[in-house]
Symmetry: D2
Subunit: 302 residues, 4 copies
Amino acid sequence: MDFSLELELAVEAARPMLATGRVADYIPALGAADPNAFGLALATVDGEVYGAGDWQTPFSIQSISKLFALALTLATGDAIWHRVGREPSGTPFNSLVQLESEHGIPRNPFINAGAIVVTDRLLSLTGNAGAAIREFLRDESGNPHLDTDHLVAASEAEHGHRNAALTHFIASYGNLENPVESVLQHYYEHCAIAASCRDLALAGLFLARHGVRADGSRLLSASDAKRVNAVLLTCGTYDAAGDFAYRVGLPGKSGVGGGILAVVPGRGTLCAWGPALDRAGNSVGSVAALEAFTTATGWSVF
Amino acid sequence: MDFSLELELAVEAARPMLATGRVADYIPALGAADPNAFGLALATVDGEVYGAGDWQTPFSIQSISKLFALALTLATGDAIWHRVGREPSGTPFNSLVQLESEHGIPRNPFINAGAIVVTDRLLSLTGNAGAAIREFLRDESGNPHLDTDHLVAASEAEHGHRNAALTHFIASYGNLENPVESVLQHYYEHCAIAASCRDLALAGLFLARHGVRADGSRLLSASDAKRVNAVLLTCGTYDAAGDFAYRVGLPGKSGVGGGILAVVPGRGTLCAWGPALDRAGNSVGSVAALEAFTTATGWSVF
Amino acid sequence: MDFSLELELAVEAARPMLATGRVADYIPALGAADPNAFGLALATVDGEVYGAGDWQTPFSIQSISKLFALALTLATGDAIWHRVGREPSGTPFNSLVQLESEHGIPRNPFINAGAIVVTDRLLSLTGNAGAAIREFLRDESGNPHLDTDHLVAASEAEHGHRNAALTHFIASYGNLENPVESVLQHYYEHCAIAASCRDLALAGLFLARHGVRADGSRLLSASDAKRVNAVLLTCGTYDAAGDFAYRVGLPGKSGVGGGILAVVPGRGTLCAWGPALDRAGNSVGSVAALEAFTTATGWSVF
Amino acid sequence: MDFSLELELAVEAARPMLATGRVADYIPALGAADPNAFGLALATVDGEVYGAGDWQTPFSIQSISKLFALALTLATGDAIWHRVGREPSGTPFNSLVQLESEHGIPRNPFINAGAIVVTDRLLSLTGNAGAAIREFLRDESGNPHLDTDHLVAASEAEHGHRNAALTHFIASYGNLENPVESVLQHYYEHCAIAASCRDLALAGLFLARHGVRADGSRLLSASDAKRVNAVLLTCGTYDAAGDFAYRVGLPGKSGVGGGILAVVPGRGTLCAWGPALDRAGNSVGSVAALEAFTTATGWSVF
């Protein structure tokens, strides 16, 4: 079945929204992104991939990497859930408030604090959290050139007082295994990976295939794949998870680079990208395109 | 297809959990509930209904009524979303804190504050919010004896300083159309409806049938039915929505009477009941039974 | 010693500030106040009273009555401190947030929640909290015409959803002895007393006289008088107590009617009035006049 | 005038309290302090100094150094108040919550966040904030051996994730001039100064002498000295400033080493020390001794 038309129409639906958003500019490297760029890719469970617009242009995946950090940690059989919760936070993604009232246990793995804890664990488990995620993305996308943008990583580190505060704060509660500096380095390394809609849609397919990777091997049990989708749906789009579920109806993870990777269990994945963000930090174009596509196809978990 | 065995097994899975919970006792009428009672019902989209344990025993539906208040309000085509949000709250169901920082707009329609706003609107739209919900439940369940337990309603009112505080607080922000006393009366009236697992499973079927009622008429558009399911999944089980999604994987609404009504889009509904609650206010037995049933059948939106 | 010149100069210092403030308008009766009115009175411990500007014009004393409610309650020897704290709140005067995290024990007797608890206790102790405060003010000021403005009291009640919310919230924690409606009625009655700078300066003299009233009888022990001054200094001017202590250096209590009553222990009292308020709810003119007067005279507890 | 008897009696009043407190043990160097040690010193404005108990034993001054950091900064004529407030915080001394809601401007200079900002400024102004405070204490106390305990400073740094979090957080709001590491080093250096009750009472005398130092030179204007006393009274004893004002009635600054330095404007200073702390972090013995002494002498600013 061919979804070229729906993909094109979804991209068209997104275009008028682009001017209403704002490119993230807390680091210069991200601020230079083209606010008019837009792409959308669909990967189906059989491994086919389609796209429209700038779907093959690499962009900074940012928080989308948090999804892979969690999956790779769970894949080792690790019990991460005593160190990080799985409830929506109700507060902004980089807030320290909740961390204080909940004694250093981040609400979920998709706010910064939670992803830092997961990165810390993945670092202990693999010895190199940044490389582990990079390799996984290369393998699943079949794109050997996919890489960390070291300029972006360095820029994040330079402007990273807030994340340093979060990491020291977590450490003050005894919820960190590795040195603050190492954890931050690996965190920035996987956030600064550059990948295209095509690459990410392929890399996320294991979540639509109940845990099975591109090569047929199993990354997660079917139960764990479902569970990751559940956490994505309730916590994957910052403080707007309820609205995203309401409008798009799919589990998804967004990043301030403008990408959103969404999962259609049993069918495939969608990855949209447009750098202009709404006030919650989600790409305005990406949300609009995903909403248009799911409305047209009737795809929704509900 | 017959799910008698799965229903029985799910009830068995729940039984050992009952002793770990605690019956709500903030009003005497609820505190008298039998902590060992337990039931589970399944209604399929074709209108069949099955059950195990005490599935035909009426209990106080409490917050499950919030789901019907929302659906009936949306059914009129009313634009309620400027008066109540649809994001998870991250705070307890009866908290006033968030209401203050968000200027009287409750986070979602399933915390007390949000349900009070919805009740206020439904009262304006119908002239009798309590009766509207009661009639709807009677119609869908085919149970003409289903009724408000006026003893419970009176007891709620008598011990209702917290809800009175919430309602006055909402009114202080100009987000109430009717007098505080009227809104509270209707709110207590629908919360105090007594219904069985059977009744509620049947009454919720429209959410599994994409908006279509028992008599074939349409209550909600397919889109709106999906959206209500989305809000249920992200906000329906108090401050444990993430955990419920993770373990059960279905949209659901719980009440402190011990009931949980869950939706399996396109297939049917499940309603479990056991008065012993966990710390988040959800029935320990009901969560356990729903988890066991969905694990056995593979039913999940993810 | 004559302070006529200093009083006149302090009034002059206040005048240019009046235009920078804003008259409280949450009830019509207060909103009608003249923003250009301004007065200042000084009462000395020997019972002399001086003034400048509109120092003999009655105004709505509002929260200044909280000081008298506390003093009259302590005067009975009552142990109120297990029901209300004596710490600065760090949050706005009508906030419900802190009340929730501290389980219904208001931070101090000078935020609304705390004054409601004190009024409740005074009502239990006297049978008529409003009358008790009114009589005390009449006795100390020697002004038999001093009275509650019932129009203001009724207007407060009509627009009082926020205070009703606070009172129900306190009741929900079991920290109220009388019915919500009675407590609110007495609370509004004493807040709506109309008195002049002259009246209030005289009525507060017991705090400068280490607890001794106008007629030579003792209201409070010397220790308790000091302690009330301490609570005034740390908590008497809403969320700006630190700034008031820094600029004026005296214990004081302000009201949204524009009055501020300040105590110079061992010397006398000052009462300033000007309806235009700053963002913290304190009279801009009154703070300016008190700062000018204390700078000129060197009066300060520090 | 001789206060030997009152000092002795105050020390006796404190002794039974010592067992009710708990020595700070977040760093080993502090945890080793003797919970039964106790001393009290009085310095009068003419430079005389008296004491009882262990009043000549050096202890870790900890947060008492924050008072000197503020005074030395103000002494340069610097306008620090746009970078730090002067309101009581209503939250624990090391909280990050308020810092977030107030965008990186700490509530007052005596919570950790505020003292870090002041230290940053003093570092910019002097080139060596730690040495500036140390020198000042040596000069005023006449004790050339007074020094930083480098073991304590190193231990603070090693266990200082919370302060590192605060400092990075402040930097993330652009409210830091120097590198995080430098500011923390100087902060720990002045907190880790060891001094006795005698030394501190003498060093604080300028606040009782309206700004004049031991050598007769002026450190602060009389106005600024009063203002520092005002900030001490409203913010000097962590989250218990209201209670301290109520019980002791003097401006004061406490430290987790167990010391409290209090100012009696125009008369002198008192410094008490006992390592066992109450839940707010103030020395139980020191509060009790100061309360006993002020009750006996009638000294109070109120």
